[in-house]
Symmetry: C7
Subunit: 255 residues, 7 copies
């Protein structure tokens, strides 16, 4: 481990190696991810669930404006944690890749293919000078040939495939909750419940307000990305005894 003073020498300008082989700009970009509110993905046998904690700076902000789950293609959704403006760039990149794939091959892009195109794009920003790394992690969930798939991209440009995963603030606690409660035979409904419980576990009072969270699914059957309405989310929260009243939050551009 480097001391404070030495560390400073390796974290400026272009992304370069420190004496112990680390890329500090990439590690600092991971810190930007941790500063963002959590997103959680759960893969079940009949679909993928994406859930995201979101916070509004003011009751006057439109809830949709802090949406953290986006449709990348009919069969793919993306949740993010970290620097919001960076997330938007990557999501737009993913959307363009999806469209190009449909145009070229006449079929929906594979979830793994899409993930790797995104991570290749991210890696370039960690090796070639003239730009900083992307300060955001993504969860890319969808259905490929009838099978639900769930991937994570991190700021180094590495893709990971998961059964269930958390990114952003309190990742440690969330992931622990998922590991303890995940089983391979979850239904999509149970997957939603698991994701909500994980988020609620670190929330104040252990409860969540419907407009403080985004939930979306891609079911294996429909192969369609669907965002749950506030009413749907409220039903799930009630059913799992997690319903709270509205909360407020501080200003931040990490979500």
């Amino acid at each position: 481990m480097q001391g404070q003073a030495q560390q400073q020498a390796y974290d400026r300008g272009i992304t370069i190696f420190s004496p112990d082989g680390r890329l500090y700009q990439v590690e600092y970009a991971r810190e930007a991810v941790k500063r963002g509110t959590a997103s959680i993905g759960v893969r079940t046998s009949d679909g993928v669930v994406l859930a995201a904690d979101k916070r509004s700076r003011s009751p006057l902000m439109e809830p949709t404006s802090v949406e953290k789950i986006h449709k990348a293609d009919d069969h793919v959704g993306i949740a993010s944690a970290g620097h919001v403006a960076d997330a938007r760039q990557l999501i737009d990149f993913a959307r363009r890749q999806s469209q190009v794939n449909r145009l070229r091959y006449g079929e929906p892009i594979g979830i793994e293919t899409l993930t790797k195109e995104v991570t290749d794009h991210i890696q370039q920003y960690t090796q070639v000078g003239g730009a900083r790394p992307f300060g955001v992690a993504l969860l890319i969930g969808g259905v490929e040939n009838g099978s639900p798939r769930l991937y994570e991209t991190d700021p180094s440009g590495t893709p990971y495939e998961w059964k269930a995963v958390a990114i952003g603030a309190d990742r440690g606690d969330h992931q622990e909750h998922l590991e303890e409660n995940y089983s391979d035979d979850l239904t999509l409904e149970e997957g939603i419940a698991l994701a909500l419980e994980a988020i609620a576990a670190t929330a104040e009072n252990g409860t969540i307000a419907p407009d403080g969270i985004d939930v979306a699914t891609v079911s294996a059957e429909s192969e369609r990305f669907v965002e749950l309405s506030n009413e749907d989310i409220e039903e799930h929260l009630v059913a799992n005894d997690l319903l709270a009243t509205e909360d407020e939050d501080d200003e931040s551009d990490e979500e």
Copy 2:
């Protein structure tokens, strides 16, 4: 000049992550926003209101020369806070995007679409080297398919949608005033009053001079951007008991 600039950037204090995951140049650009005089947006059911505090360096300066609210297209207005010259670049960018949209699709650009094209443009200046971020926040207000919409862009390139929002100096106080007094059933007239009250709340003596403020509206019915004349503004100020005499101010290129 853009292409050339991207090549130039290989070892400057370009916008990079700090060890705790922050982008200081972006945060400093936010300070430039706070140095500017306030702008306020209010969305009502029958239209959007933009109001901006403006200060003249001298009684000999033409009031229009310190205008802080600009027409981006027939149905869209933009107010700004922060570095004036930067604001002008972004407003011109928005105007060009609006025109391109009309040419390509034969219809007015959507307010959200316009906002996201502007924020994509802003984000590039925070990630790719060779340029500094834009030191300005914008309020983009207009009507889309008959519905009033109000967006904010910040120096990180993040778009937010609002019912009512303040940017620039005294944002905290202004936003608090909006939150306490906003209701979903405001008329456009009441929206104007709310915006004026918010600005007056932090003004000396709690009053405003008509030529110290810009007000513009886009009504849901007309879908037309309209700037209020000094006489109109004075009527509103009188009606709300906010009328003051002229004030003076120090030299600054943040407004």
Copy 3:
């Protein structure tokens, strides 16, 4: 406010934001403007007046060689304060824009349009790396659709419209003089007198030598830029009791 040492970190290389949201290179360029001799513009109902204090390094220097007022087009004049070589670049830029406008649209360029094309050009040099800002302010005066117009451009790239304005050395005193003595019903002759008085107010003995000053007008009627001869200037100085003998000055490339 920043300490001396911290400030230094933000004023080198590319123009970037300081922690309190300032662009030091732009502020330093404003200092270059203050180092230049004064220029004054006065807009009257029947025309615009530009007057400029000029100093010769030697009695052997040709007076025209230190001219500070230039014709940009038949109907537009430009006065400057600050770095002379920079001023020449911007004036040439303005001339080219004026010619292009005539070629494209078959009509003289608007004064506001011209000003904004110049300020857009200036702003680029404050945001994109690889060059320093322009160290000069301009007064652009002319007639547009029969109406006299007077604009100022500053090193940040912000345009201002004025009734009467001073740039360069002693701006504070000059502007105060203008504010105290300006009235909307000035004739062009009275405008010339006002400008000369303002300059004389800070001159030694309160008087001016004819070859120590440039004066030009664009009258609303003729829409033609006219430079006053030394004899004309002398008449105005005599009439206003401001005539002095020749003065000398130190070497400087700011005027």
Copy 4:
């Protein structure tokens, strides 16, 4: 040898020589390799074996997502140690080169040719500015004209050919194990056993879990890259008395 302070001067920005003729960025990239989990290659008379230690951050991560051995072409496999995202770039580069060779010459690319194209690519990143070196070492194994071949690439861009080699964490211990136990007449089965034993030698309890390891072969006869299933690996572990239960590991983007 340089002291600590002097060393710091030579490891920033572009890759340059230190006074004693070293390239610190390249040496630091080698540290990134050592931070990664081990990969081992063994060449036998009837084929090449690649084996890689892999660790999962969580039991919920898909084992395939941490795969460290990749098929580059029908007859070539690549194992890596170090920065995962960098490895993926080089493996993609190798795949493209393989495809280009088939298109141009209608035959599979030679293992040595492929290795040298990869190392040329790596060397460029150590000499020309604007990018950092690749923080990864590769083992490239395959069959060329019926003969098994095994190469290593390091971050300097040097290719080495080996009978048996280890890269990544604990390289010293692994290589020692290989040197003591390698013989030229190993069968492919025995080669697999040797690779597993080497990895197990530094593992906790000297045993390995089947899903904690990747194994692949290219046999001289088939000239086909084949990844062993978990069941196959388990059989090999049982047969060599190396079978363990699952282990867990900390988060890292070096593998």
Copy 5:
């Protein structure tokens, strides 16, 4: 590789503003001018005189090799003070501009036009990064439409028109001599005498050796650049009682 390298150079001690609005690199370039031996220009009613002090490092150096006055076109001569190699670049630039003018318009280039093309070229090197300013001042003298004209260019890229002017070492003393002795009704012969006297005034013993000086004229009548022979110069020196014996000087690349 050349092209690439030129792009990379934009981050170094580029010419920027100091906190008090000065451009130090330009001011330092002015020091380079002062380090050079003097050149003097005198405009008379019937022609322009250029005279230049020159020093040889050794009696074996060819006098022509230290010539400081050059023919730019049939009707234009240029004298310089400062960095010799830079002077040669600008003189070549001036020659090319003169030739281009003849080709385009079929007539000799105006002296003012030529000067401004040179100063525009110089200014670019003070604003755009990747190069240092020119460390040289020029005197451009010639005849335009029958009238003698004399211009100075300085390292900032500012043009000045003069009746009589000195650049280089001892400028202050030389200019003072010119101011005290210049009159508008000088003949060309008297102009030559004035220039020689000015140089002699600061020389050792107040005398000049013929081969220690260059003199050239462009007469209004001939409109032809003519260099005086050593014999001609000697005659002028004798006639004005300024003749000295040879002097020697130290090595320098400023002249």
Copy 6:
């Protein structure tokens, strides 16, 4: 001569001159050469001999993989000392130049011509920014028009022609041995012996293992590059009483 501290200022980033006229990056690149194992060239009347000390990091490394002598064309061989990956780039460059020469002129490239093309390439990397110098020296040996020729290239890009020369570690001792024992009437066999003796002179016990050395020749008669087999080398070692057992060596990317 510079002190330690000042020296540091001149050896970073681009290759520039120190106050005493030295290019430190080039000198440091020479240190990289000295870190490499030795190569020796001997020119005899009937051919050129290249011999190179080589070390393997492990008995499992293929001897060919540490080959230090390469065929550049039928009639040219190249030995190297220093940074291996750099050597490979230059050798590839030499091969391409040789092929181009055959294509253009239908004949083998001259040894001097080839050497100078290589040194021109090397020099560019010492003068133009954006890359470091090559950290390697080469011996280029071959036959041109029936005459054996032997050249050295160094990191500054200077070519030298030799009768016999050593590069790399212990150059001083090796060269001394060559100078004391070289004579112009050596046969090719005697040249091989001389090269082996020189290397053995600094080896442990004064003996060499056949697989610890590369030897190649280009005879004047055949004009063909020939690498000696281990058996051939062993015969030579036995004949000269220099045969040793295998040695081992530490890890290094300089050879």
Copy 7:
């Protein structure tokens, strides 16, 4: 004059002006010239003589390999002092310019023209960023229209014409010798003797070995560059009583 510490700030990276108007990188490049062995040029009425001191690192180095005088064209020779690899670049540049001239105009290039093309090339490297200056001085000697001409180029890119001149180590002493002994009526033979005497004057024992020196001539009659053989040189040394035995020298890349 600057202190030691301030000076350091102006001699790094790109070539820029110091506060007292100096270009340190150019001055340091001149130091590189002084580190090289001497070259001397003498112009006589019937031809030009070039002579160069050269030193071999070892008796095994081919004398031709340290040649310091090169043929640029049939009628032009070039001697150098300073960084050898830089000299080779400039000599190649001169050769290409000579060939281009023959192709374009069907006649040999003028010596002055050639010199100025070389110095223009050198000057670019002192003003535009991304490269260091050339660390070498050249003597360009030849015959133009029947007249012998002798030029010097220095690292600033300034051309000088000489009757007789020395560059490199001990320039002061050599030049003094030339000044004391040169006369305009020297024959070519006497010119050779003068050059040899000058070099011998600073040599050990005041004598020179034939293989420690290069001598070449371009006679006015033949207009052909001729290198003297060792035998010819020896005859001249004997005739002038300057013959010595072989000397040795230390390793250096300046000659």
